[in-house]
């Protein structure tokens, strides 16, 4: 073999070594179970493309005055409140006000139900009206919402026990809400007195992801749409500031974000914590397993998933009663929040926990301690556990 060929082979070998070395010098992707974003499995190409369009609209599109922001607002983009599709931060908590009971919001003509506490230059932001009770809402994680959306009403009603007929101290009831004038009913939707089961929002006062998304654009960013055409500042119906197709892309994005993946599930400490979670009957409200019904998105149809919620309202005691409510929920009633993704919350909240509905709890332990009402018994039993077992339970919750 001539020297020329040896040199060429050497050069190719060197290039291959360099290419491998180069790959090593590029940042590695975080493990899939460390991320909250990403699509559910089994989407079609067309669905992936819509997911990507929604991803861009949700995470990259920033509204400015010229594109409809405000003039009063809470945030400038969807992604501002849900970094990495995770929970929010006190910087982006929403303030809702004006409804102290199940009858009605008495401050709708004075800016209710949501406070827009920021304003474009030249405008004055809203102030809380005197006499209005209020509550602050921490933005939730977006992950797995499509699965929650696809649970049949009948499945949720299986967990409801409004009069505590079984005497276990846990009631649980749906928030029966009127439908917005748009959107469509779920297959086999259950109606009661012209109202339907709400399942999104801290008080379960939102029917589906379309309502949630149209509301958020309108109330959080001051963006009107075909669904929510009224400008929050002037009160007038104005031209849509976001196209219907883009808004539907965002709805699809939210619907098809994957469910959080549990971590360290086989760790003995985690397994012991899971057993304690069941023994302390935390699972009475934080129901580990749900099943979807039919969904137009095949990837979401008839799936078993593990959100740790029943999507129902529970009395959480006077300590969590802010004197504000929505729909038919009582002020002390809150929808059971899903616990999946809890261990990754800090990665979206700036390295700290801001838990419970308004972020008042700085740790999982503190959040458990704040549980009252129907959850008081479980909370008390947790606090009576030896420190080691408390840690096991916390490790289990962090693994979700």
């Amino acid at each position: 073999m001539s020297k020329k060929y040896i040199r060429a082979a050497g050069a190719i070998l060197l290039l291959m070594v360099a290419m491998i070395a180069c790959q090593k010098m590029l940042p590695r992707a975080p493990a899939e179970d460390r991320l909250l974003d990403g699509p559910v499995a089994e989407l079609s190409t067309e669905q992936h493309l819509q997911f990507l369009r929604g991803d861009v609209a949700f995470n990259d599109e920033v509204f400015v005055a010229e594109t409809g922001l405000g003039p009063l607002f809470v945030a400038t983009s969807c992604g501002s409140c849900h970094a990495g599709d995770g929970k929010g931060h006190p910087f982006t908590t929403l303030t809702r006000f004006g409804q102290p009971d199940t009858l009605s919001n008495r401050f709708l003509q004075r800016g209710g139900p949501q406070l827009q506490h920021r304003a474009l230059p030249g405008f004055l932001p809203e102030q809380l009206p005197a006499g209005a009770t209020f509550s602050r809402f921490m933005p939730p994680a977006n992950t797995g919402l499509g699965f929650l959306d696809a649970v049949p009403d009948a499945e949720l009603l299986k967990y409801a026990d409004p009069d505590d007929a079984d005497g276990d101290g846990i009631s649980g009831r749906p928030n029966w809400i009127p439908l917005p004038g748009y959107g469509s009913l779920r297959p086999d939707a259950i109606q009661r007195n012209g109202r339907y089961i709400g399942r999104f929002g801290k008080k379960a006062a939102v029917y589906d992801l379309l309502q949630q998304t149209a509301n958020a654009y309108n109330q959080d960013m001051g963006i009107t749409s075909a669904y929510e055409p009224h400008d929050t500042y002037s009160g007038h119906a104005i031209d849509p500031e976001i196209s219907t197709s883009k808004l539907l892309d965002v709805v699809f994005y939210l619907k098809t974000l994957k469910a959080p993946l549990p971590r360290n599930a086989e760790n003995p400490e985690v397994k012991a914590g899971r057993q304690l979670f069941l023994e302390l009957r935390c699972s009475s409200c934080h129901v580990p397993e749900l099943k979807t019904g039919y969904s137009p998105v095949a990837a979401l149809s008839y799936k078993v998933f593990y959100p740790y919620t029943d999507l129902l309202l529970h009395d959480m005691g006077p300590g969590l009663n802010d004197g504000y409510t929505e729909g038919t929920a009582l002020p002390e009633e809150w929808r059971t929040p899903p616990l999946w993704g809890l261990g990754l919350s800090m990665n979206a909240q700036g390295g700290k926990y801001f838990l419970m509905h308004d972020g008042r709890a700085g740790s999982i332990r503190e959040a458990i301690r704040m549980h009252g009402g129907e959850a008081q018994q479980s909370s008390s039993r947790f606090q009576q556990l030896p420190e080691q077992e408390q840690q096991q339970l916390i490790r289990f919750l962090e693994s979700l």
């Binding site: 992707a29 975080p30 700036g350 390295g351």
Partner: protein
């Protein structure tokens, strides 16, 4: 009135005519320059007609001299000298393990025209085509009148002397493919506007002192109303009308003082500030004047013993953002960079007599939102840190082939775990 004159006057009466006129003038100017350069290139066949003017390397040059300190070509008795530079790059980057693949860019092609109109009266200009011609900008076009070495008048489109990079940014001078973050996103280099001012230099023994001071058109409210979701100074560059009229009638003041010692290098201190919002319209007060101010320090030197080049710059920006606006848009920013360039081989190579191989290292940082959250008292992040080792080959001082490895850490507003972006860049940049 002939047809062409009629057309021009009609256009002037149309809404936005000024912008169209500016664009038409740019295209005309650009075409003229390209033709002239083509003519010069043709003239190179006849060396009697062609003269290359190389920068004087013996003098103590400062950053403010960068517009003069460039290679130019003069053809015959053409009253203007011409020049320019071009950059072409390729890049392969990965963000948290996801890559968009290999891409190629022509980030800029820049053309210079300079002319000595009369003794001590000069015209200099710099026109830049960015991103393959998607943007055409007159970055610099001024007339300099020297009344005294200590007192020169300058008027036209000026590059505000804030920091050093804004004035001294020609691609072939740098071993790094990406421009420094803080010098291009906090100071939005190349930041140029229309204005007038004075400058001067005084040299004695091993020292040179210099100053510059200008009044010019300034920023606009896009710096806090933009789709970057942060206070973003480059957003003001999108307003081409700043070359025609001030956004708010308040001048932007820029002043710089610098001193260079032959051994200890050059240090500069500069400040730029003015109102950025439209606080009054049609005689009606709309808001209080809201200012944006920059303070910058810059330093450069070449260590005589090792021939190591050191270049650095740091900037602080202060922005009066209305308190009722979102904290997403920072009230303070800061950042800077430091470059170290070490020639390792300087000898004839591949037939080029003054070739060199250099290794280089850049460290840089930009904090787009210095402050604390009102709600928690916690730190607001929105920061980028980068480190860039590189190697370059210079066939001559005016051409550089460079390869960089760039690693960036991006922390969002809340300070969540950093997004990591890294990749390789290869490019060439040369004066012509």
């Amino acid at each position: 009135m002939n047809g062409f004159t009629h057309f021009i006057k009609t256009c002037d009466r149309l809404p936005g005519a000024g912008i169209h006129e500016t664009f038409r003038m740019k295209r005309f100017f650009l075409l003229s320059m390209l033709l002239a350069i083509a003519g010069v290139a043709a003239a190179q066949r006849d060396t009697a007609l062609f003269k290359r003017i190389v920068p004087d390397s013996g003098r103590l040059h400062m950053n403010m001299d960068a517009v003069y300190n460039r290679p130019f070509i003069q053809a015959g008795k053409l009253p203007a000298t011409l020049g320019g530079y071009v950059e072409a790059n390729s890049a392969y980057f990965s963000e948290n393990g996801v890559s968009e693949g290999l891409s190629f860019q022509l980030p800029r092609l820049t053309l210079f025209v300079a002319s000595t109109i009369r003794r001590r009266i000069k015209f200099l200009s710099e026109i830049e085509l960015e991103e393959g011609g998607r943007e055409i900008n007159i970055e610099f076009a001024s007339v300099d009148v020297e009344l005294d070495p200590l007192l020169n008048l300058r008027g036209g489109i000026i590059m505000n002397p804030i920091g050093a990079f804004n004035q001294n940014h020609d691609g072939p001078k740098w071993e790094f493919i990406s421009r420094p973050m803080a010098a291009t996103t906090i100071i939005p280099a190349t930041w140029s506007t229309v204005g007038f001012g004075v400058f001067g230099k005084y040299a004695q023994d091993n020292w040179v002192w210099a100053y510059e001071a200008y009044l010019s058109n300034g920023f606009d409210d896009k710096i806090i109303n933009n789709n970057q979701n942060r206070t973003w100074m480059p957003a003001a560059k999108a307003n081409a009308e700043r070359f025609e009229e001030s956004f708010n009638g308040a001048p932007l003041v820029t002043a710089k003082g610098a001193v260079r010692h032959r051994r200890f290098g050059e240090i500069g201190v500069s400040w730029m500030g003015g109102a950025y919002n439209k606080y009054r319209e049609d005689g009606i007060d709309l808001d209080q004047k809201r200012r944006v101010d920059f303070l910058a320090l810059d330093y450069n030197n070449r260590l005589a013993k090792w021939n190591t080049a050191i270049t650095g710059e740091w900037v602080w920006a202060f922005i009066d953002v209305p308190p009722t606006y979102t904290q997403q848009y920072g009230r303070r920013q800061q950042g800077g960079f430091i470059d170290l360039v070490q020639p390792v081989i300087q000898q004839a190579m591949l037939g080029w007599n003054q070739a060199s191989v250099n290794i280089a290292l850049r460290g840089e940082y930009a904090d787009y939102n210095v402050g604390r959250f009102t709600e928690t008292g916690g730190n607001i992040y929105d920061q980028v840190t980068a480190i860039v080792p590189g190697i370059s080959f210079r066939p001559s001082g005016q051409t550089v082939l460079r390869a960089n490895y760039r690693y960036e850490w991006h922390r969002d507003l809340l300070g969540n775990p950093a997004k990591k972006i890294a990749g390789f860049q290869f490019g060439i940049s040369t004066y012509f």
